[in-house]
C-alpha cells in the first residue's frame, strides 16, 4: 500500500495545481477530473475570508476585481491557522503593490481601515478608562498619570481623505459620492462602549494619542501635542476620548 505520508504531501501538490500528483491513490482513474472541487473549495474558502474582511475595498473596486485580487493574495499568503476571523493581515500591503490597482493610490489606505476595523472588532474586551476613574484626583496627580490606548484602538494616517471614502463605502446602503482629495488626514478606529466607532482626528489629536500610546505621562502629552492649538482645544478632545472609551489605565 502506498504510504499515507506521501499521499498528503502529494495531495498538497495537487492543490497547488498538479492533478497527476494523486492519481496513484485514486480507485477510479476518471475521478482525476473531480480534483478541481478540492482545489476550488480551498481557494474559495480562503478568498471568501479576504473579501469578507475588506468590504470597503470590495465596494470601491467591484466584486470581480476584488475576487481576482483576493485570489492572487491568498495563493501567495495562505492562512497558517484555522482561526480565519483575522486572516488577511497582509492584504493592504499586497494591494499597494498589486499592479492592476496602480491607478487607485488611496486603495491600500482604505484596506488599512478595513483591517483596523477587524482588529478592533476582535480586540480583547478590556474595560476602558471612564471620566469617573479620574474623580477626586488633583490636577498634578492627573497630569502624572501614564495612560494607554484601549487595546482596540487603531490610529491611522493617510495623505488622502481615505477615512471619508472608507466610511462612505463601509456599509451596504447607498454610498454618497466622495471626491478623492490629496490632503493629509488622521483617524482612529476602535471598539467603544457603544460598539464599533471611528472618527476623524486633527493632527494634534493624533499626535496626542500617539504620545499616550508611547507611554508619555498625560500632562506631558497634552503639553507637547497642544503647542500649536492651545491647551483648551486638546483638553476638550481628552474629555471626548475619555468618554468614547479610547483610553485605559494599564498601571492601575
Amino acid at each position: 500500500m502506498l504510504e499515507q505520508l506521501t499521499y498528503q504531501a502529494r495531495f498538497a501538490e495537487m492543490l497547488a495545481g498538479s492533478d497527476e500528483a494523486v492519481t496513484p491513490w485514486l480507485a477510479d482513474a476518471t475521478h482525476i477530473a473531480r480534483l478541481r472541487v478540492y482545489r476550488n473549495n480551498v481557494v474559495t474558502a480562503w478568498a471568501d475570508m479576504i473579501v469578507k474582511n475588506y468590504p470597503a475595498v470590495e465596494r470601491l473596486v467591484g466584486t470581480d476585481f476584488m475576487r481576482g485580487a483576493a485570489i492572487a493574495f491568498v495563493k501567495k499568503n495562505p492562512p497558517q491557522s484555522p482561526v480565519l476571523s483575522t486572516y488577511g493581515e497582509g492584504f493592504p500591503a499586497f494591494i499597494q503593490e498589486f499592479e492592476p490597482a496602480r491607478g487607485l493610490p488611496y486603495l491600500a489606505d482604505v484596506a488599512r481601515l478595513d483591517r483596523a476595523w477587524t482588529e478592533a472588532f476582535f480586540a480583547p474586551p478590556t474595560a476602558p478608562l471612564g471620566p469617573g476613574n479620574l474623580a477626586g484626583k488633583s490636577e498634578v496627580e492627573v497630569g502624572a498619570l501614564v495612560l494607554g490606548l484601549h487595546p482596540s484602538v487603531w490610529l491611522f494616517s493617510s495623505k488622502w481623505n481615505a477615512r471619508e471614502i472608507w466610511n462612505a463605502n463601509r456599509s451596504e446602503s447607498d454610498a454618497p459620492k466622495i471626491a478623492l482629495e490629496e490632503r493629509p488626514t488622521w483617524a482612529a478606529v476602535w471598539w467603544s462602549p457603544n460598539g464599533m466607532a471611528d472618527r476623524a482626528l486633527e493632527s494634534t489629536e493624533y499626535q496626542f494619542l500617539e504620545l499616550i500610546s508611547g507611554g508619555a505621562p498625560l500632562g506631558d502629552a497634552l503639553t507637547k501635542a497642544s503647542s500649536k492649538v492651545g491647551e483648551s482645544a486638546l483638553y476638550q478632545f481628552f474629555s471626548e476620548a475619555l468618554a468614547g472609551g479610547l483610553l485605559t489605565n494599564p498601571h492601575k
Binding site: 499515507q4 475521478h31 478540492y38 480551498v42 484555522p82 472588532f121 480586540a123
Partner: protein, 283 residues
C-alpha cells in the same frame, strides 16, 4: 432544560444572523445549538459575548473544522490550547471533529480533505483522537466525510470509523447528508452503509443540504450546506431513527443562510420523526 448534555431533539448550526432569534426562541422545544469553535477563538468580539448569553439558556455543541485529525502531522498544540479555553468558558454539552485533514506544512487548507481507509491511516487517526481526548479531558465524536473522489482503501468506511471508535472510546457524529453525497459520488450504497453503524456508537446526527456540481451536474454532488435537507436524506434519516431510536440531531446551513423560521420548520420535521420513534408501536 439542562445544558450539560444534548437532548435527543433537534438543534441548529448557530449563525450570527440568528443570534437574536435563538435567544428569543422558547426553551420548550429543546432547541440546542452548535458552532464552529474556530469562529470564537478570538481575543474578544461580540460573537463571544452572544455565545455566552445563548449558552446560559440551552446546550451548546462545539464542532471543530480545524484539528486535522486525519493529518500526518502531530496535532497543533496552540489549537488544542484554544479549544481548552473555549471548553472552560462555554462548558459545551458535546464536542466533535471531522475524519479529515485540513493542515499541512504550515498551511491551513480550510477544507475537509479526504483520507484513504487504510490501516496506516487508521493508526494515525486513532493516535490523534487519543491525543485530542487526552488534551481536552473529554471524549469526542468524529464525523464521517463527504467524498468527491474514491480513494484506494483496505476496508470500508463504516469499518474504518467503527474501528476508530472502538480503539479510542470516541463516538460517531453521523452526517446522513455526507453518507448520501459520498454514496452518490463514488457509487456505493446508502442503506448498507447506515446499517453497518451500531446505534450505540452514534452520539449525534447531522442533516444538511447539497447542490449539484456546476459542471458535472447530479453525478457529482457538492456538500455545500446551502439548501434545505433533501427528501432522500430525510428518508434515510427516518429509516435510521426507526432502527437506532432518537438521537440528538442538527440542521446545518452554512451558506445561503435563510430566515430563522425556515430552519425552525426543518427542526420541527426532524423532531416529529424523533417523536414517532418513541411511540409504543415502534418500541
Amino acid at each position: 432544560m439542562t445544558t450539560d448534555r444534548l437532548p435527543s431533539l433537534t438543534g441548529i448550526g448557530l449563525k450570527p444572523e440568528h443570534y437574536r432569534d435563538v435567544m428569543n426562541a422558547p426553551n420548550e422545544g429543546g432547541l440546542w445549538v452548535e458552532v464552529h469553535p474556530e469562529n470564537y477563538m478570538t481575543d474578544g468580539g461580540p460573537r463571544r459575548a452572544w455565545l455566552e448569553v445563548i449558552r446560559a439558556g440551552r446546550p451548546v455543541s462545539l464542532h471543530g473544522v480545524g484539528m486535522s485529525l486525519a493529518g500526518d502531522e502531530p496535532l497543533d498544540k496552540a489549537h488544542l490550547a484554544r479549544w481548552r479555553e473555549l471548553i472552560k468558558r462555554y462548558q459545551p454539552a458535546m464536542i466533535s471533529e471531522h475524519v479529515a485533514w485540513s493542515a499541512r506544512d504550515g498551511t491551513y487548507f480550510a477544507d475537509l480533505l479526504p483520507t484513504p481507509a487504510t490501516n496506516e491511516a487508521l493508526d494515525r487517526l486513532t493516535a490523534n483522537i487519543d491525543h485530542m481526548q487526552t488534551a481536552l479531558g473529554r471524549s469526542i465524536l468524529i464525523e464521517n466525510p463527504s467524498l468527491y473522489v474514491d480513494l484506494k482503501g483496505e476496508m470500508t468506511e463504516p469499518e474504518f470509523l467503527v474501528e476508530a471508535c472502538k480503539r479510542t472510546g470516541c463516538g460517531l457524529l453521523l452526517d446522513v447528508n455526507n453518507v448520501f453525497v459520498s454514496a452518490n459520488n463514488i457509487g456505493r450504497g446508502t442503506e448498507d452503509y447506515l446499517d453497518a453503524i451500531p446505534g450505540d456508537l452514534i452520539g449525534e446526527i447531522h442533516l444538511a443540504g447539497h447542490a449539484p456540481d456546476p459542471i458535472m451536474g447530479e453525478r457529482l454532488l457538492i456538500d455545500d450546506h446551502g439548501a434545505p435537507v433533501a427528501p432522500e436524506v430525510w428518508r434515510l434519516y427516518e429509516r435510521l431513527i426507526e432502527r437506532v431510536g432518537p438521537k440528538p440531531t442538527l440542521i446545518e446551513r452554512d451558506t445561503n443562510i435563510p430566515a430563522f423560521a425556515e430552519l425552525a420548520a426543518e427542526v420541527e420535521t426532524a423532531n416529529a420523526i424523533l417523536e414517532r420513534a418513541l411511540e409504543p408501536a415502534n418500541a
